[in-house]
């Protein structure tokens, strides 16, 4: 979907992106992870030409992005940012309809699309469509921001620390939301963050950036279980890397089917991290496992957690 080949970018002679090559496959949820100053936002903004790269090539759907008008390419990519940047003088409805109206969709299609997106982002369409941004909570504003970014049916959704300014509870809800949307729509998403847990829980592919270079890229599991060097190990946290690994896998991967155990059962979709907490809180070494319909599936033993398969 997006291909970067030997891209360089410098601000006032200081290199920010240094000979970077990257391929973002269609349908992937790519998280660009890095500390501040690593060049992650710059990298994202070069993809929709908010910033122009100095050298190298950036391809979008197989074509050099400079062959498009910047506006044309941006209308094919959704864009959501941390401070949301909703137009304060436009209603929620008009904000969401920004790109469809730029694309000159007929009015009834725009109206239907707004309703569809508000429903997708769990905003009561009838209640909120005529409201103005300042009448919404921070979480609702960000929902509108994401809906607006998705409105023109973009091929790629670019998100620059979209949940950075939200409180932990709202942030967690919206993370779940965006993961659900990714699964449901299959949109290619590129998200920039410095939040390691956010990256691990959302990404199908993580790109770890430092000083404008890719240190390592891969699935969350690969990053944790096969760190390329000490920087990666340190970045993800040397001490709790085991806990994070447990967080990536579900109880279903360690299921002992056919066995039985007493006590309150746990869901097969529960993460191993939460299962471990369960073992410790209940002071047991065996838990009964059920599926979504509460049918008994088997058990999981405490010792199964030690089997840290990548």
């Amino acid at each position: 979907m997006i291909e970067l080949q030997h891209v360089c970018k410098a601000f006032n002679g200081l290199p920010v992106i240094d000979d970077l090559s990257l391929h973002i496959a269609r349908g992937e949820f790519t998280v660009i992870l890095g500390s501040s100053g690593s060049g992650k936002s710059t990298l994202l903004k070069m993809m929709n030409r908010l910033l122009e790269h100095d050298s190298g090539r950036i391809l979008f759907a197989g074509e050099e992005i400079r062959s498009f008008r910047p506006e044309a390419i941006r209308r094919r990519m959704g864009y959501a940012i941390q401070s949301v940047g909703l137009f304060p003088h436009w209603s929620v409805e008009k904000n969401i309809a920004t790109v469809p109206r730029l694309l000159k969709w007929p009015a009834e299609r725009v109206h239907a699309r707004v309703t569809e997106l508000m429903t997708l982002l769990q905003l009561d369409a009838e209640r909120y469509r005529k409201r103005y941004p300042h009448q919404l909570s921070g979480g609702q504003q960000q929902r509108v921001g994401v809906a607006r970014a998705l409105a023109g049916k973009p091929e790629v959704l670019l998100m620059d620390e979209p949940f950075g300014a939200l409180d932990p509870v709202t942030r967690a809800t919206l993370q779940l939301e965006i993961a659900r949307i990714h699964k449901a729509l299959g949109t290619t998403i590129v998200l920039v963050t410095h939040d390691i847990d956010e990256a691990l829980s959302l990404a199908t592919s993580i790109v770890l950036l430092d000083h404008g270079r890719i240190v390592q890229s891969g699935t969350p599991l690969q990053m944790l279980s096969n760190p390329a060097n000490d920087f990666v190990t340190d970045f993800f946290g040397r001490n709790d890397v085991g806990i994070k690994l447990l967080g990536l896998q579900s109880v279903a991967t360690r299921l002992r089917s056919g066995e039985h155990a007493g006590g309150e059962p746990v869901h097969a979709s529960l993460s191993l991290r939460d299962a471990m907490s369960m073992f410790l809180v209940r002071r047991v070494d065996r838990l009964a496992v059920v599926d979504g319909e509460c049918r008994a599936l088997g058990t999981i033993n405490f010792s199964d957690l030690l089997d840290l398969r990548p």
Binding site: L50, E71, I81, G85, L86, P88
Partner: protein, 392 residues
């Protein structure tokens, strides 16, 4: 003093009482040139039999206003205070007009009855009381405008039906009707001729300064210096070069440009209006949040679309506030332009000042004040109407 519930009103009523007792409500003179004799408000009842309606129209609201000092200021009380204050104001005017007519009947055509200090102070105090009540009610602008109608409509009706015709102010108007109409035209002409170029020059300058910082600093430095030059000095400074210009380029002289008159006045007022116009435009544009512009770019709006759909509407309220300042300032300063022969209401004011005719001065000043207030209210309404309605 715990039984005083509305201190603002208490102060206003007390001051009004002092003014009513100590200062003349009307002054009466046998002719226009001699100093008049003051007539106090209490004297009015004794000297002439007042029309009962006018008495009630002032007495009843006055009693209500006094009572309201000691009542807890609820919304209902505030509405009563507002109505009482406006009716009191109308009543005062009716009372003054009525007595002026009676005095005119007694002492002939050349006698003059002017509004005295007590009238003006009482009018000002009741207007303040009304404004204070309106402010406490915190109602929408539409209601405020309707409320203002309570004063404007009856006074306007009285003016139109000739009720005030025996007041000296209106006699001065009757004598100078042509001069007054001409002054109104000239005044409007000066104001428009100054504001239009100020907008045509100022807005592009502000747009340019918003894009380049190297322009902004010197631009504002120059405009600030212009603003500090006193207007009379600026008129004087412009006279010599313009006279020279007209002498050397006859075409310009034929167009009416010379050292005195409209040309230097309009140039000076344009220069003065530039600062508020440029500053408000630049401030309006720079207060558009950066993330909003970034989001607009990121979604594929072109630079032109961002300007028309995002920057302009978001900058408009600040710009209109600046335009209000510029307009009100120009209306006021145009009075001084009469000194260099530009005409307008200033000419009437200065004629009155030189002749010692206070009513003539008022005849020049009151329309200027009215014009400024009207423009102020108009632009305020416009800027409020443009803001998104948050009450839905």
């Amino acid at each position: 003093m715990h039984w005083v519930k509305n201190r603002v009103l208490a102060v206003l009523v007390l001051s009004g009482l002092v003014a009513a007792l100590g200062l003349p409500f009307l002054t009466h003179a046998p002719n226009r040139l001699v100093a008049g004799i003051g007539i106090a408000l209490v004297q009015l009842g004794k000297d002439t039999a007042a029309h009962p309606m006018e008495i009630w129209l002032t007495l009843l609201p006055a009693v209500l206003l006094v009572a309201a000092i000691f009542l807890r200021p609820t919304r209902a009380i505030q509405i009563i205070v507002y109505l009482a204050a406006t009716f009191f104001l109308t009543g005062l005017a009716a009372l003054a007009a009525h007595h002026a007519t009676q005095l005119a009947d007694q002492s002939g055509a050349i006698a003059r009855t002017s509004l005295g200090a007590a009238f003006w102070l009482l009018a000002a105090f009741s207007w303040l009381a009304a404004t204070d009540a309106m402010q406490r009610l915190a109602v929408r602008l539409l209601w405020r405008l309707l409320g203002a109608g309570f004063v404007i409509v009856p006074l306007g009706l009285m003016l139109a039906t000739g009720a005030f015709n025996d007041l000296s102010l209106l006699k001065e108007y009757a004598n100078r009707q042509d001069v007054f109409s001409a002054a109104l035209g000239q005044h409007l002409q000066i104001v428009l001729a100054s504001l239009l170029p100020a907008l045509l020059i100022g807005v592009p300058l502000a747009l340019a300064s918003n894009r380049s910082l190297s322009l902004r600093t010197p631009l504002f430095a120059v405009l600030n210096v212009i603003q500090t030059v006193p207007s009379i000095a600026l008129f004087a400074l412009l006279m010599a070069p313009l006279a020279l210009l007209a002498a050397s380029v006859p075409v310009l002289a034929q167009l009416g440009i010379k050292g005195i008159g409209l040309a230097p006045a309009v140039i000076a007022l344009t220069l003065y209006a530039l600062l508020p116009v440029v500053r408000s435009t630049a401030a309006g544009l720079s207060q558009v949040p950066q993330p909003v512009i970034e989001a607009a770019q990121g979604m594929g709006l072109t630079a032109r679309q961002i300007f028309w759909r995002v920057e302009l509407p978001l900058a408009l309220p600040v710009f209109l506030a600046g335009l209000r300042v510029a307009t009100v300032q120009t209306i006021g300063m145009a009075v001084v332009a009469a000194l260099i022969g530009a005409g307008g209401f200033g000419a009437i004011v200065f004629q009155g000042l030189l002749g010692g005719a206070l009513d003539l001065v008022l005849l020049g000043v009151l329309p200027v004040v009215a014009m400024a207030l009207a423009v102020d209210a108009l632009l305020k309404t416009l800027s409020l109407a443009l803001e998104p309605n948050v009450n839905d």
